[in-house]
């Protein structure tokens, strides 16, 4: 991970900068969504963009998720590069038909005639005491949709490079941010625009005894866990797939071939979640190298409770990863 000069931004700032630079570069980039203009977005990610680019390019909408995604699709067919914002991932199911049954099938069902350079940005709010209807993370659903790409950045550096990469991609991309990271993580971000291509995992930390594949917020927990483990003499490699579809299976599999052990970690519910796909991928690619069963560190199979202490218990932390690793070495 080459980061250039050491300018430190938050994750939210990094995304904003990526959006702004692409808008400066390319007139066809247009934002639309609820309260993204004067309000600056529920998380202030688009703050200042209305002022800079005006209401034709930063378009507030009524509360109409179907139409937000649908209109963005139509605009994309006609050659714009819309970036639609769905305020919470919990609201995305309202527009899932548009994203999955329309956008993701369009290139295929048109026999290759259409091109859908669409980005749908959203975020998940687990960890903010927002309860069962405002905290959900559903990446696995969208991994299961060929024709769609799915991006889940974990660091400011990746967030900027990946939002630029997503906008430049000619396919529908679901870009899932993590709300507790917006102002909860900072990191070096080069000022000039740079693109991280979709489909390339990043080894966030090298190690030799166990591979931890972690998604979004859990990347940070995995890195903390790796430090803990190091103290105990266990060397953990931490891999962030960064994009879930396309999934960089090779990087993951190669790592497990090296370490012989794997923990997979993400914030969605365990059954049918992204960790299931990661585990299945590892078994397929590195079965003969595995010295222990793969352990999934995922959210429990229950809705998300509001009460902060309960939500805290519900969530998975570095210690859960440490425990998982200790159970297998």
């Amino acid at each position: 991970m080459s980061t250039g000069e050491e300018r430190i931004l938050t994750y939210a700032e990094a995304i904003r900068e990526g959006l702004r630079q692409e808008m400066q570069r390319d007139e066809s980039v247009v934002l639309m969504g609820e309260d993204i203009g004067a309000y600056g977005g529920a998380f202030k990610v688009t703050k200042g963009l209305l002022e800079e680019f005006g209401p034709e390019r930063v378009r507030d909408t009524p509360i109409s998720e179907i139409a937000i995604v649908g209109a963005a699709i139509g605009a994309a067919i006609m050659g714009l590069r819309p970036v639609a914002e769905i305020m919470y991932m919990d609201f995305l199911p309202i527009a899932t038909e548009q994203l999955v049954i329309q956008a993701a099938k369009m290139r295929f069902s048109s026999g290759g005639k259409l091109r859908i350079p669409l980005v749908v940005r959203t975020q998940y709010s687990l960890g903010r005491a927002h309860a069962a209807q405002h905290s959900n993370f559903f990446p696995a659903w969208y991994m299961n949709v060929p024709g769609l790409k799915v991006v889940t950045p974990s660091t400011p550096y990746d967030a900027k490079g990946l939002i630029i990469g997503s906008i430049r991609d000619d396919n529908p991309v679901l870009f899932v941010e993590c709300a507790v990271l917006y102002y909860g993580v900072k990191g070096p971000v080069p000022e000039e625009p740079y693109e991280i291509p979709l489909g390339v995992a990043d080894v966030k930390r090298e190690g030799s005894d166990v591979t931890i594949v972690a998604v979004s917020r859990m990347v940070h927990e995995a890195l903390k866990a790796a430090e803990e483990l190091e103290k105990k003499g266990i060397s953990a490699e931490v891999i962030d797939p960064r994009t879930l579809n396309p999934l960089d299976r090779q990087t993951i599999v190669e790592s497990v071939k090296k370490t012989g052990r794997a923990v997979v970690a993400a914030d969605d519910c365990k059954t049918g979640g992204v960790t299931a796909e990661l585990a299945a991928t590892i078994v397929e690619g590195a079965f003969d190298y595995l010295d222990a069963p793969i352990v999934r560190v995922a959210s429990p199979d229950m809705p998300i409770p509001f009460s902060p202490p309960l939500e805290n218990r519900y969530m998975r932390w570095a210690k859960d990863i440490v425990e998982a690793v200790e159970g297998m070495v």
Partner: protein, 342 residues
Amino acid sequence: MAKLEIEIEEIGEVSVQEALSLGLTEGDLLRMYRKLVELRLFENRVEQLYLYEARIQGTAHLYTGEEAIAVGVARAIEGFGYIVSHHRGHGHALAMGIPPKEVMAELFGKETGVVKGLGGSMHVAIDPKRGALWASAIVGSGIPIAAGAALALRYRGERGVVVGFFSDGAANTGAFHEGLNLASFWKLPVIFACENNQWGMSMPARKSITCGRVAYRAAAYGMPGVIADGNDVLSVYKATKEAADRALRGEGPTLIEFITYRLKGHGVYDKATYRPKGEVEEWEKKDPLPRFEQKLIEAGITTEDRLKEVREEVAKEIEEAVKFAEESEVLEFDKLWEVVYA
């Protein structure tokens, strides 16, 4: 050129005298006043707890300024009515008779909360035995659910009505359209109660409602549309009662647009800088509480002193609710498994 004429009934301010003729007693009016105060002081206290005491986490959408709607509706459907609430539901919960301490404990995330601390601010108005069926934090989604609850009433031939609450922003969702159409299609005993508080987050209702008035949309579903003064608890009562009567007679749903105003920001942390200057002040003049106080006093039903006593009593109750919430315990995590499935 075909002309379609849509009649939208407008129900303006209702006098005490008219209210009494509609079947309310003086005692009812005083109880309604007390409820208004309860809703207002509750929200005032909640705002404090969030902003200045930082004792509650997550978010809360205050009902301040809109109290007349919940209180008027709840009174009009008392004994046979159900509601479906939404993200701005503290007022709905209290108006339906959920004790303030249960609502407060919910905000604190405690086991003694109305839904055991699992729902928080956006799910406080859930208590089926008091008629509060569900509270959806997803804008618009409660609307077809309200219709479905009304279907059950109709199917079983029960005397009852369901009120689906929502605000202006929700009238732009697909769920609104499909829910109202289906309710009309089946002539269900449901009242679609739009609390038009002029804003959906930072989006002004006058822009997002492209036909100008939510109530006009009733015409798209062949149902009566009504506009009432949402800052006059008696106007609310009258409009709701008429719609409830219609529903009970088997004549199907009504869409009522209650004109009101969100006196605070969207959520407790929103400073609402997007609002035009002077707007809040204009609406403060129409604040439902002083308006009702004045009416009651002018009608000779009560006195300023008596009302002050009420306010003090209620304030004490709210303080007790805070204490109760504070002292309650959080549910044991393992107990959560008991409520994932029935």
